[in-house]
Amino acid sequence: MKPCFVIRWPIFLLLCLPSVVTLCLPTVLAAQSAEMEQGKRLFESQCGSCHGTLGNGGRGANLAQRQLRRATDDEALLKIIRRGISGTEMPGSFLTPSQVSSIASYVKTLGRVEPEEIPGDARRGEAVYASLDCQVCHTLGGEGGILGPVLDDIGARRSATHLREALIEPEAFISHGFLQLRVVTKDGRAMTGIRVNEDSFSVQFRDLVGGIHSFWKDELDTLEKMWQRSPMVSYEAGLTSAQTDDLVSYLVSLKGAR
């Protein structure tokens, strides 16, 4: 199928010569605006369920920032939209190159959005973080436990809204790669831990003090996958509203080393 009309560049330039500014600039701007509009529409329908319709994050990364952690340049951004990020929940897409390109253009504008106003004080939040023993499970600045996700750049990866919800209802958002298991061996030993790896015949997990266990499945009586369970407790009752604001503010400030 051939396009119904083709404008060759020399003719286009000739047409433009009489008044580049008055005639052509609006055409170019209109084209850019149409691409941006398409990008916005596609972003909202294809990406919004994880990244938020405003792109400021949710289950997926907060994209409303000047520098994206994984999409360090245009090429990387296009590749991620096309192919996803292996080992994460970010899937590839079946979109056409022009659709991918329009989404990328739109994503780049998100970085120019004014940062979200977050109530609370990050400095006080740091003290809340320390007082709650979060570091028993989470690593920050190379220190801390290994049961939960690393928090060095959590503010770049998750929105304030998402972090607040995760503090109140941790079991609604189990991070990728942190499935909790309960196993009972045939000789009666019961253990819980976080799944490290699994295949059809074996399973490996890390227990709550970090020890690695590996079993053939035929050595186990029970292998229970607790999709809706998190070792993290809800802080809904344990924190005042102001403390929660402070803690969220602190977490959002953690943007990772550059």
């Binding site: 199928m1 596609l42 329908s45 294809q46 369920s49 994880c50 929940e89 899937p91 897409s93 079946f94 979109l95 056409t96 190159p97 022009s98 659709q99 189990i174 699994e198 295949d199 059809s200 015949f201 996958k225 999709w227 809706q228």
Partner: protein, 534 residues
């Protein structure tokens, strides 16, 4: 010079009449009687009936636990290794991604020759630049390429005899399928259902590379079935033919599955049943004429290519002997057709599916409207990778069971626009995999006449491995986590397993080398050959 030529010419028939090690002479008659030489693996599915069953029985239920790697070949490519090797007279013929072919010495595992193809930049394939194997006929090896050529190689040297363009690769056409060698034709299908191609199945002259016929799987103006496409949608109608079919020499019918209509997820731009997408077509291989078809899924919007392996079985059905065609479909239903007429006999769900509320008495699905991709997102099982896919099922006459690796994984589809540009993706949706559950995988044994489940083995992830059954009472399969295993074909007990270290996207085969039975599977980037200790 004349004298020498004369000597060579007169000596040649004598030389060719006996099996010379390392010199393939795979006549059509040998492929036809493949069951009588189980030490070789002469055609993609082991035989024209495509049962992928080996009558070798040295490796059996009692000794399979002693199976061990005998030799391993490392491919040069790190792309998915989807090959199903062929073996004849001491040589194994494999393909390596993207479109290379290699001959391996069976005694040592060492390469005898390699054909390395330069692939143009910018080749598009939906799912990896892969290849599933070669065809052999007489002294030639036939290879399809991702730049949509068909190449004939000298089986002794790997040198090119001829190389013809099947289709224009810049328009999204590619070949990943293993060709099928018939008496005097090489049959080859095409991939590109995600790029707005118009599908076809071709036959070529093995000697010259001349195209003998082309059957368009999307009928053109004036042809029957053309009116099942609205407007000019047929021009980009898809219906690719990217998995090797089967052949019944008595009926002289060629059976081939066809893939999705394009664009994959947007139905409104191609109103109608969209023939012959998502169908089983039966062709006269002499002319390419359509004898009958059965469309599994009219007007598909889920990308459930019906490009599985048709398994041929002669059996008593409904109190009379029938020539049957068994077809565990990517859409989650198991079908039995009469392969003489195409009559629908059985349609039974064998995997989790939510796209259909059922099948009517003619086998036509009653679609679940809630599963149709939408702007808001529609959840459907299976996802577009399907309940089955290109990987092979197997039928064992010993157990009278058909075995199928099954994928149970759902996804939500968010509709997007799709604008056709030649060679660009033309699908029309994004997919989000269901989270909060491990997708499931199974090896299932089914009653071939009813599709009823007899036993199953749950595996960790939805598999991409094909199956082979053997007269040793075994079924061989593999997993995405690299486990290659053998199960008791009667009971489903796992009797042996080996961790290969790489995901398995391939079909197993079996052969004899110096009187010893081997089992072969590609895993990761390596080709493993297992045998019992000497």
């Amino acid at each position: 010079m004349k004298t020498l030529l004369f000597v060579v010419a007169t000596a040649a028939p004598i030389l060719l009449s006996t099996a010379v090690p390392g010199v393939a002479q795979v006549s059509y008659e040998r492929i036809l009687a493949a069951a009588f030489e189980p030490g070789n693996w002469l055609t993609y599915s082991g035989s024209y009936g495509a049962q992928r069953y080996s009558t070798l029985d040295q490796i059996d239920r009692d000794n399979v636990d002693r199976l061990q790697p005998a030799w391993v070949y490392q491919a040069r490519s790190t792309q998915k290794f989807e090959v199903s090797p062929l073996v004849v007279d001491g040589v194994m013929y494999i393909t390596e991604a993207p479109s290379d072919a290699t001959a391996l010495d069976l005694r040592t595992g060492r390469p005898l020759w390699s054909y390395r193809r330069s692939i143009p930049q910018g080749i598009v394939t939906c799912c990896g630049q892969v290849n599933r194997g070669v065809a052999l006929l007489d002294d030639q090896v036939f290879l399809g390429t991702v730049d949509a050529h068909l190449v004939a190689l000298d089986a002794r040297t790997g040198r090119v005899r001829w190389d013809v363009e099947v289709a224009e690769h810049t328009e999204g056409y590619a070949i990943t399928v293993a060709p099928l060698a018939l008496k005097d034709k090489i049959i080859v299908g095409i991939a590109g259902g995600e790029y707005g191609i118009r599908g076809f199945l071709d036959a070529y002259d093995p000697r010259t590379g001349e195209r003998l016929w082309r059957f368009w799987t999307v009928p053109g103006p004036g042809e029957p079935g053309h009116d099942t496409w609205s407007g000019d949608s047929w021009e980009r109608g898809g219906a690719p033919t990217w998995v090797t079919g089967a052949y019944d020499p008595e009926l002289n019918l060629l059976y081939w599955g066809t893939g999705n209509p394009g664009p994959d997820f947007i139905g409104e731009v191609r109103e109608g049943d969209n023939l012959y997408s998502e169908s089983l077509i039966a062709l006269d291989p002499d002319t390419g004429e359509l004898k009958w078809y059965f469309q599994f899924l009219p007007h598909d919007v889920h990308d459930y290519d019906s490009t599985q392996i048709p398994v041929l079985l002669d059996a008593e059905f409904g109190g009379e002997p029938r020539k049957l065609l068994l077809f565990p479909n990517r859409n989650g239903f198991y079908y039995v057709l009469d392969r003489v007429t195409g009559e629908f006999l059985v349609g039974k769900q064998f995997a989790r599916q939510t796209w259909a509320l059922g099948l009517d008495e003619n086998g036509r699905p009653i679609e679940n409207p809630e599963s149709i991709p939408s702007r808001e997102g529609a959840l459907v099982y299976p996802d577009d990778d399907g309940a089955a896919n290109w990987y092979s099922p197997t039928y064992s006459p010993q157990t009278n069971l058909i075995y199928q690796n099954v994928r149970e994984k759902g996804a939500t589809y968010y509709l997007a626009d799709a604008t056709y540009e030649p060679g660009k993706i033309y699908m029309g949706a994004s997919r989000r995999t269901v989270t909060g559950e491990d997708p499931k995988g199974f090896l299932r044994a089914l009653n071939p006449l009813t599709g009823d489940l007899v036993w199953e083995i749950e595996v960790h992830s939805p598999p991409w491995a094909g199956l082979m059954s053997t007269a040793g009472g075994l079924v061989f399969s593999g997993t995405m986590e690299g486990d290659f295993f053998a199960a008791d074909a009667q009971t489903g007990d796992v009797l042996w397993r080996f961790q290969t270290g790489g995901p398995i996207y391939a079909n197993p085969i079996s052969y004899l080398s110096e009187g010893r039975q081997f089992i072969t599977i590609a895993a990761g980037s390596a080709l493993f050959n297992f045998a019992l200790p000497e």
